[in-house]
Symmetry: C2
Subunit: 333 residues, 2 copies
């Protein structure tokens, strides 16, 4: 690419059903000039997350992504020039850079990150995925040693870390994922006690076999039918950590919620709690220290799925929503 061109991917039309490549358009923009308080950054890696799709549906914990703007997305970037105190050329930052080569971003919205190797870990285990798994499991799900933890989208960026942390904490861990290969990987490589393949077996029955003592903590990434199957197998005083609802993102809004709510919540005294990773950022240092020590000790394996080329970002997100990734998917710009 030329150093004077800023390739950008626009969301040209909001999807009403499944996301398609036609919802996006690549265009050549100008490299922006940073204003006072801003830094001009060169994007290195773009994070792909199921939540990207939810942002297109409307306001969530952030404003909706609008049509005919650069598609939003978190990324790791290098500072090219800076008009902001505290940031200088060569610094590495994380922020919502969007799907483009260059961005001018207010320094308030950038977090300086250390230059670790591989840099990709800043988006996987030491990024939002790792912290989401850590806080959502430990601060919301609160598993105790010996309890049964079930996690959906278990082969994804968050789920694969949730299950491993639950094993570190001495729990019986069951992952729900799509496909025999992913399920085998969860058990053989990541040390899950069992895995349920929602594409080839009835979830309720398979879960009953894999979690014979019932479920104490369900880490929910998907909502829908799988949440419903887990709800009815929760033990009294179980906790459901509500992280996301992938099943509801890529299509029209769901017609109804899972059966058993609120009936089962009452009878079993369940707690369902939603969270966003930033809610717990005051405890970020401890989380980082724990994650780093587990990675170094070989207790936490980091799986990444790096796709090359900014132009491939739309297809990479579409594929992620279809569940084709294993571990953290990102694009090397």
């Amino acid at each position: 690419m030329s150093a004077s061109v800023n390739r950008q991917i626009l969301l040209v039309e909001k999807p009403t059903g499944k996301l398609a490549k036609s919802n996006f358009k690549m265009t050549d923009g100008k490299i922006p000039e940073p204003k006072d308080g801003e830094a001009l950054v060169r994007v290195k890696y773009i994070s792909l997350d199921a939540a990207n799709r939810a942002w297109m549906q409307g306001a969530t914990y952030r404003a909706a992504v609008e049509a005919n703007t650069v598609m939003a997305g978190g990324g790791v970037a290098e500072v090219v020039s800076s008009k902001a105190p505290g940031l200088k050329e060569g610094d590495l930052v994380f922020g919502d850079t969007g799907w483009q080569d260059y961005a001018a971003v207010n320094a308030k919205h950038l977090v300086k990150v250390p230059k670790i190797e591989p840099m990709t870990h800043l988006l996987s285990v030491y990024g939002i995925a790792g912290l989401t798994a850590y806080f959502g499991l430990l601060n919301v799900g609160k598993p105790k040693e010996g309890e049964t933890v079930v996690v959906s989208a278990a082969a994804g960026s968050v789920g694969s870390i949730v299950g491993q942390i639950a094993k570190i904490k001495g729990c019986h861990v069951v992952g729900i994922a799509g496909g025999k290969d992913k399920c085998a990987w969860l058990v053989k490589d990541l040390g899950f006690d069992a895995a349920v393949d929602y594409k080839s077996e009835p979830v309720f029955k398979a879960l009953k076999a894999a979690a014979p003592n019932g479920i104490d903590v369900y880490f929910d990434n998907v909502g829908g039918d799988i949440l419903e199957a887990c709800l009815s197998q929760m033990n009294n005083r179980g906790r459901i950590s509500c992280c996301g609802a992938i099943s509801a993102y890529d299509g029209a809004a769901p017609a109804a919620g899972p059966r058993g709510i609120p009936g089962l919540i009452v009878v079993k005294r369940l707690i369902m709690q939603g969270f966003i990773v930033t809610d717990f950022y005051d405890q970020r240092e401890q989380a980082m220290a724990d994650l780093q020590s587990w990675v170094k000790a070989g207790k936490l394996k980091v799986q990444e799925d790096v796709i090359s080329g900014l132009e491939n970002t739309p297809q990479a997100l579409i594929g992620l929503l279809a569940g084709e990734n294993r571990g953290k998917r990102m694009v090397k710009v």
Copy 2:
């Protein structure tokens, strides 16, 4: 009635749809002989609760009520004779006596209660209704001064107390009830800030007007459409205290749960928590002391709906499920 006959109401057939009088049959049984460890009690007042209907659907926090047995139900009763240490003739107890004149009950399942006047308060404000309101609001909902609390089935035994306690705690209180008279009573007599009549106005819109700052605590007695309407108006970090699901009790099992779960739970970081009153019985003394002081100070009004005659118990429950009561409904045997 003759002192040698024990009138009993049997559940002769489990309802598959709406509960009807034909599901019950009155019969004359024998007055039982208490075995070792049991007391023979004469039932004074039978408590009617929406949960009675849920017990017919299957196991809840207790085993299901089976066909051709005496219908289960809590009651205040007087000990006639005792083969249990700690209980003697003339003592007043609370327990699951069932819908009958006399019962022989293991003393383990009876709680000795004080002889207060009126005795009916033992089933309303100082009984399960009052304690459910107290713990469900304060320990689960955790309202703070100035927050908005919404309660459904607000004119019922639990709801009417929930709203008043929330007012005592300095909250903005909105009740949802069926009918103009009930709604007027909530505001004029019980001091609620506003009431929504779900029978005559669209709940979502009326709630938006009555709770303009959104909902911080929703005390859910009903589930279904009203839970759905509240969910979408919850403020970030709101709490939903799941007490019951009246809308789902008197009919076939609902086809689906409310929309917005888990999506709204995630985005708004909500906590939905189910509870059963006995979960908090270790804090019962404090609760009783608070309730008594509020009643004495005139801050908490007690509304009771006492129906005479054991034979009228089935119709009294059917009417309660249709929402015809105001405050705590019970039968004077």
